[in-house]
């Protein structure tokens, strides 16, 4: 069963009388629609901002970008416009087309600084491109191109070794050191980068994705992907003062690789092996691990993290059917969103890892 077939089959499940009792017009509905609806009701405020309760109720370019991508993917144009309108009105306050990274409800100014977060911008561009096709709105493609151009200008930087490789910096400002560039490899999303490169013609994104995958492979040779790494001219080293653990940032790496069709990537294998080594079962999932020893430093009961681990294990082993848990909103915004993305990765890239 390929992606199209699984979409059709799962979509048919939602037709009236087809078994799931979904009422409405007899059109194909995205299989994620019920879960998206639950997500929307829980995390999306009426004004269009995606609320991250663990960040003092903040909204940020990441949450807005994730939400926008999901809305575009499931075909929820109303939610798409709602999220986009709020984001444009609130976070699009920089001199360029990128987004300020955070809005805080407790701050009278709302946006307290104008730095961006490149992953939020990346997903936002990708969402605009998907929406341009899904909703037949070419003007969104123009916006995506302008934003992609600024993102490339601000955050795609040369590798310190000056060998022609490109890096995707976490933000326009703040991560450049004398010794190298501080990187967060969970900001890489190859599928998005290749799509953006193809659709906007900015090939730097594709180069960046390819180079990033190679760097991730280098990291996987020694252990798990760390949350933060400093890329120097001749080496990948611990980013002084930043978490070297494989934590809440880096746990996205295998998800994005699998979603990008890179299930055989060494970083996926490494994470699957370390989780198996951790040997935890039941309701708790390791979320922070020593990147070299695999020692578990923190666990979480949230199903979204378990979903990534289950998908990683399934994709790595080539299983038919995975132990990815059913979606639930009984978890904070971040794991819930990763949970939805895991399901999307199954639908779009790994249908053999269907939830059982």
């Amino acid at each position: 069963m390929n992606r199209r077939e699984i979409l059709l089959a799962a979509g048919c499940c939602l037709l009236p009388g087809a078994g799931f009792g979904q009422s409405g017009a007899a059109i194909l509905t995205h299989p994620l629609m019920p879960a998206w609806t639950a997500w929307k009701e829980t995390y999306l405020a009426q004004d269009g901002r995606v609320v991250d309760s663990l960040q003092q109720g903040a909204s940020h370019s990441e949450s807005q970008g994730y939400g926008l991508l999901l809305a575009a993917t499931v075909g929820d144009e109303t939610a798409f416009d709602l999220i986009d309108d709020w984001t444009v009105a609130t976070l699009a306050v920089r001199d360029d087309n990128l987004l300020a990274w955070r809005w805080l409800p407790t701050d009278p100014r709302g946006v307290s600084d104008f730095n961006n977060a490149s992953d939020g911008d990346l997903f936002y561009v990708w969402a605009l491109l998907r929406a341009a096709d899904a909703f037949d709105r070419p003007e969104l493609r123009d916006r995506a191109s302008a934003m992609a151009s600024d993102l490339a200008t601000s955050c795609i930087v040369p590798h310190p070794d000056q060998g022609g490789r490109l890096l995707f910096a976490p933000a326009a400002s703040g991560f450049n050191r004398d010794t190298g560039i501080v990187m967060n490899f969970s900001y890489y999303m190859s599928r998005a980068m290749f799509d953006i490169a193809t659709q906007t013609g900015i090939t730097a994104f594709a180069t960046c994705a390819t180079d990033g995958e190679a760097l991730l492979a280098d990291l996987a040779a020694t252990g798990l992907t760390p949350d933060w790494t400093e890329v120097r001219a001749g080496d990948l080293v611990t980013a002084t003062g930043l978490s070297d653990a494989h934590g809440y940032e880096a746990l996205r790496v295998p998800l994005f690789l699998i979603w990008s069709g890179r299930a055989s990537h060494p970083a996926v294998a490494r994470q699957a092996a370390f989780h198996q080594m951790a040997g935890l079962s039941g309701s708790m999932t390791p979320t922070v691990m020593d990147r070299l020893t695999g020692e578990v430093r923190e666990t979480s009961p949230d199903a979204g993290y378990a979903a990534i681990v289950a998908l990683t294990n399934c994709a790595r082993q080539g299983l038919d059917g995975s132990s990815v848990p059913f979606f639930t909103v009984d978890q904070p915004y971040y794991p819930a969103t990763l949970h939805l993305m895991t399901l999307l990765a199954i639908i779009e890239a790994n249908p053999n890892c269907i939830v059982t």
């Binding site: 699984i6 799962a10 048919c12 499940c13 087809a18 078994g19 799931f20 299989p31 994620l32 019920p34 879960a35 639950a38 663990l54 990441e62 001199d95 955070r102 307290s112 600084d113 104008f114 730095n115 200008t153 601000s154 910096a169 976490p170 933000a171 326009a172 400002s173 703040g174 991560f175 450049n176 050191r177 004398d178 949350d227 933060w228 002084t240 003062g241 930043l242 978490s243 653990a245 934590g247 809440y248 039941g282 708790m284 979320t287 923190e298 979480s300 009961p301 199903a303 378990a306 038919d320 059917g321 132990s323 848990p325 059913f326 979606f327 639930t328 249908p351 053999n352 939830v355 059982t356």
Partner: protein, 729 residues
């Protein structure tokens, strides 16, 4: 190059210390929780000259400082107890008394619960949940619990409001099936007697009684899957079929049928779950996943939530289903009785009857051949062997009933504790009918005095030996048309809904439920069909052959909510109408003596209302039955009534039966339809056959006899006249 300017700008800000106050607000170390402390990062940086142009970042408000986009991801501390609770699965107990909440009434009662234990060492708790009637006097009452035959707990029932949970010792638990016997001894706090018996009860909530085990316990094999599926059904939740492409209705019906074979007490529900949809309410014990690309025939896996998952390619793979969920065996049904000789209860496979309460009732069901028919004055006989306790009050009684008609009333006084000679109790054989019959023993032992709690009497108050005999005379092979007999021959695959639009979902629901509940009767050839439709589609039924109209059907199947109004109208009839009704009833009663049969259908249906009609519309095609279901009727209730009715003495019979709103069947037989002789008339059977016809229609028989008499007289007169004439000549 713009990016380089931006980076330099931030570095400059960091170095001047402007950012430091902002980022040092959270001093937590990254190694602990994944958060980032920027202090050391800032310290490691060397000041870099900042071009003035780069300070335009955030220029709309000079007071706004750039920071690093770093987010707090750690959740709050998880309560260890809460986390541990999430890893525990609860396996409910089963009981042959039913599912959900079972009620134990009377002074003495017991329930045998079955608890299937996967791994003894992983059991964390064994418990029962109970509540008791406020009428129960705790000081004179007790609940005794035996595990595998050994007493493990005894307590006074004191939970009068909600269900209370009692934790039980687990030392005697064994791996596999455990028998948990709950024996109730309870006394009314004020009264003593049969009525008080009904008021004292203890309920056990099976869904809250059972064992808690580690969710990930045991090897995921076939036995574990079977155990988990039963437990899933026992929770009252459906078994979920996780499938991107929903299985067909036929496949789901087949699965339901097979799940129903796991344990007869539970009615399985199957729900299809979209794998990408939010989690269902409770799928935590077991489910089935369909993956059309699955490699091997099947796999059994343990899911993260502890559920055992059967992964298979398709529900149409009957080989896989046969290995996990074989089709249920046919039911044995009531004991088959062979008329013509004395048969003991023991020979019939029936147990002795023992009564311990002030009120007791025991039904002994047996099956007579479908072509057995005696309507005349033949007698059947019970050779009753019984004894009862000493000291019972003078008014204590035992009632012996045949198909709910009392055939003997016996005092339980004067011979208490003595050996009583065999008592021959004869009764009219016409009280019996082909098919299911019931011999009932009922005891009524008033209190002495009735307004005080009963004195505690240990042991049985009455015992009927299994050496008690029953003799039923043989009959010639005769029958009436009987839909009850046809129901016994019906196979579940021949039950189908006949629907036209979505309003008739009730018919489909009844058919689905019957597919699960209905099982063939062992040693009985299956034949015929049952078509189910809703009252909206009643015109699909060939009603005219019975003399019914659609309007009559709709009137009978009026929803229960509208019944009250009809009854009120009936009660408020005028005096004239009442007089006419009285006269009509009297005439009917008198005519009933001459024609002891059901009235015409139009009269019979008048005033009868219910949830469903079971029909045999065509006497030429008796294999075909129809079930018409009222809109708004509970499909499961209707299906359960049909299923139970086919093996009950009070089940549907005749040509038409109505399932009343109170759940009982009332049946009608056409008065025009006489008994049918299925064997040649002979000297041996002519008397019995004639008796049956005479009893079916005394007036017709008298008319026939009168005609024969007149004919005889005429013949005799002709003979006399003719002989007299020849003598004259």
């Amino acid at each position: 190059m713009k990016s380089h300017f931006c980076l330099l700008s931030l570095v400059a800000l960091l170095c001047t210390g402007q950012l430091q106050a902002q980022v040092t607000a959270d001093p937590a170390t990254p190694a602990d929780n994944g958060r980032i402390d920027l202090r050391s990062m800032i310290d490691s940086m060397t000041p870099t000259p900042v071009p003035p142009a780069q300070q335009t970042l955030g220029q709309t408000d000079p007071a706004i400082l750039p920071s690093l986009p770093v987010l707090e991801r750690s959740a709050a501390e998880v309560d260890p107890d809460q986390a541990a609770a999430a890893d525990v699965a609860f396996y409910p107990a089963l009981s042959d008394l039913g599912a959900g909440v079972i009620r134990l009434s009377g002074e003495f009662a017991e329930a045998n619960l079955v608890i299937d234990v996967p791994v003894v060492t992983d059991v964390q708790e064994l418990r029962i949940a109970y509540r008791t009637s406020i009428n129960v006097l705790p000081e004179l009452s007790s609940v005794t619990v035996l595990l595998n035959g050994r007493e493990i707990a005894q307590f006074s029932p004191r939970s009068f409001e909600g269900f209370a949970t009692v934790q039980l010792p687990m030392e005697n638990l064994i791996e596999g099936q455990n028998q948990l016997m709950v024996q109730i001894s309870q006394s009314h706090r004020i009264f003593c007697g049969p009525e008080a018996s009904f008021d004292i009860w203890t309920e056990i909530d099976l869904r809250q009684s059972g064992i808690s085990v580690a969710a990930q316990t045991g090897i995921p094999d076939q036995a574990a899957l079977r155990r988990a599926l039963i437990a899933q059904l026992a929770t009252g939740e459906p078994v979920y079929v996780v499938a991107a492409q929903p299985p067909t209705q036929d496949e789901l019906a087949e699965l339901s049928l097979r799940l129903g074979g796991l344990t007869p007490q539970l009615t399985p529900k199957v729900v299809v779950q979209n794998p990408f949809a939010p989690a269902p309410t409770n799928a935590g014990l077991s489910r089935i996943a369909i993956i059309d690309r699955a490699g091997p025939d099947f796999q059994i896996r343990r899911a993260r939530d502890g559920a055992l998952v059967l992964v298979m390619r398709s529900l149409s793979d009957t080989d896989v289903l046969d290995s996990f969920l074989p089709r249920p065996d046919p039911i044995t049904g009531p004991v088959r009785f062979v008329p013509g000789s004395d048969v003991t209860l023991a020979q019939m496979g029936l147990p002795p009857v023992a009564m311990r309460g002030r009120y007791g009732r025991s039904d002994l069901n047996f099956l007579l051949p479908p072509d057995w028919l005696l309507l005349a004055s033949q007698s059947a006989e019970i050779g009753l062997i019984y004894d009862y306790a000493e000291g019972l009050p003078e008014t204590a009684l035992m009632l012996l009933k045949v198909n709910d008609t009392t055939v003997r009333l016996l005092p339980l006084f004067g011979q208490g504790g003595e050996e009583i000679p065999v008592l021959q109790v004869s009764f009219p054989a016409r009280l019996l009918s082909p098919g299911i019959n019931a011999l009932t023993v009922e005891t009524i032992i008033p209190g002495e005095p009735p307004d005080m709690p009963c004195p505690r009497i240990e042991g049985e108050l009455l015992r009927v030996s299994d050496q008690t005999t029953l003799r039923i005379p043989a009959s010639p092979s005769m029958q009436f048309p009987d839909l009850g007999a046809q129901l016994l021959r019906l196979a579940p695959e021949n039950i189908a809904a006949v629907t036209r639009d979505t309003r008739e979902n009730v018919a489909t629901s009844v058919a689905d439920a019957l597919h699960v509940l209905f099982r063939p009767l062992a040693e009985t050839a299956t034949t015929g069909s049952l078509a189910i439709t809703s009252v909206f589609h009643a015109d699909a039924v060939p009603l005219e052959q019975l003399g019914l109209t659609r309007q009559m059907v709709e009137t009978m199947l009026v929803p229960a909510a509208m019944m009250t109004e009809s009854d009120t109208v009936a009660e408020n009839r005028s005096l004239g109408a009442r007089v006419i009704g009285f006269v009509g009833n009297t005439i009917t009663a008198i005519s009933g003596l001459a024609r002891p049969r059901d009235p015409a259908l139009a009269d019979w249906v008048d005033g009868r209302h219910g949830d469903a009609l079971l029909l045999m519309p065509d006497l030429q095609d008796r294999d075909v039955l129809w079930l018409v279901v009222a809109q708004g009727a509970d499909p499961e209730r209707v299906a359960a009534a049909v299923t139970a009715g086919r093996i009950s003495a009070t089940g549907p019979s005749g040509q038409l039966s109505i399932l009343t709103h109170d759940g009982t069947w009332q049946s009608w037989m056409s008065p025009a339809q006489g008994p049918e002789l299925l064997e040649p008339l002979s000297i041996a059977n002519v008397r019995t056959v004639a008796g049956n016809y005479a009893s079916w229609s005394p007036l017709g028989y008298a008319t026939l006899m009168g005609a024969l008499l007149i004919l005889s007289v005429i013949v005799a007169l002709l003979f006399v006249v003719r002989n007299r004439g020849s003598r004259k000549r």
